[in-house]
């Protein structure tokens, strides 16, 4: 599973975003997600990946691709899961 796939899973599990609505270019604004939703996403990512996303980092995320890039910058890659 790629980091992107797992991000889509978190968006679906935690925030009810249908997977088919998401592409790497999709912005959180287009998904109608606000700053509180991004905090929830960050918590989901922490549970799923075991990496911490700070409030400021969460606030800076504009698109799904941004979130993937941030997580990859924290050393995450493709997993066997």
């Amino acid at each position: 599973m790629t980091v992107y796939d797992r991000v889509v899973t978190i968006l679906n599990d935690r925030l009810g975003v249908p997977a088919e609505d998401v592409s790497p270019e999709t912005t959180f604004e287009q998904l109608d997600l606000d700053s509180l939703d991004l905090v929830e996403f960050a918590l989901g990512a922490e549970e799923s990946f075991g990496v911490r996303i700070s409030d400021d980092e969460a606030e800076g995320l504009r698109s799904v691709g941004d979130a993937v890039a941030l997580l990859e910058s924290k050393g995450l890659g493709v997993t066997q899961a």
Binding site: S35, L36, V39, E40, L43, E46, E47, D55, E59
Partner: protein
């Protein structure tokens, strides 16, 4: 320790930047037992953040606008501890229409929501918890304020609600004093919390706060506020009630910044 064996209800923890998170963390470090509350879609976030405290805290579901929730929260605490030593009210909300420079156009519905959540809830929470505080032989209620003596950019009806909160604090102090319950507010300088980020124009007075404050001011550090809240929750302010303590680097005391002098 400052809060050894104190049993505290801390509302308003949403993220680690929350003032209430600093309060809960410092209180635990000072020996207190802490229960948090959260509600709505914030509840799960509060539950997640509760794990980041030194000791994971339980989270009670509590919408302060619902009398049933207040009664259920009191019953939960009663069954847990049988008494309560302190309450932190860190609750405020204003619909978008009540903030951000549309003051003269705001509808009564938006104003009513702002006042219900941000002002009335202080008295409602105090009333719900008073029997438990009395059971402990008295206690301390602390609310979070933002200086309401002047008008601020963007703060609008939340500023009106805070002015009401300041008055509300005095009346609750009057009525709960005979039960040895102290009631005070901490007026914090601007902090980069989720609540602050929701306010258009907030950055304008963030930028001018540090140069004006004699002690300076860091908008990213809620600990100075948390420390004073803990002090007010402790036994070291036994004759203080109906008070507003400014934790703002001293900005409230000066009319303009000293940076250009000398």
């Amino acid at each position: 320790m400052l809060l050894e064996n104190k049993r505290l209800l801390v509302t308003g923890v949403l993220t680690e930047a929350s003032i209430a998170f600093s309060v809960a963390r410092l209180a635990q470090e000072a020996g207190a037992e802490v229960v948090l509350s959260g509600f709505g879609r914030g509840l799960r976030i509060t539950q997640g953040i509760a794990k980041r405290l030194p000791t994971e805290a339980d989270v009670i579901e509590l919408d302060v606008t619902k009398p049933d929730d207040l009664a259920a929260a009191a019953a939960d605490i009663d069954s847990r501890w049988g008494a309560l030593d302190g309450v932190v009210h860190a609750i405020g909300f204003a619909p978008a229409g009540a903030l951000g420079g549309r003051f003269m156009q705001t509808s009564w519905e938006d104003v009513a929501t702002t006042l219900q959540v941000s002002t009335y809830s202080f008295a409602a929470l105090a009333a719900a918890m008073a029997p438990l505080l009395k059971q402990a032989g008295g206690g301390s209620i602390v609310g979070l304020d933002f200086d309401a003596s002047v008008a601020w950019p963007g703060y609008d009806w939340m500023g009106v609600a805070k002015a009401g909160l300041e008055s509300c604090c005095r009346y609750v102090a009057r009525d709960l004093g005979p039960q040895n319950i102290r009631v005070n507010l901490v007026a914090a300088g601007p902090l980069r919390t989720m609540a602050a980020k929701a306010i258009d124009g907030f950055s304008r007075f963030e930028d001018e706060w540090a140069p004006r404050a004699p002690l300076g001011w860091n908008v990213h550090d809620a600990e100075p506020v948390g420390r004073v809240v803990c002090a007010l929750l402790s036994d070291w302010t036994p004759a203080v009630t109906g008070e507003i303590v400014h934790v703002d680097g001293g900005a409230h005391a000066v009319g303009t910044g000293a940076a250009t002098e000398g």
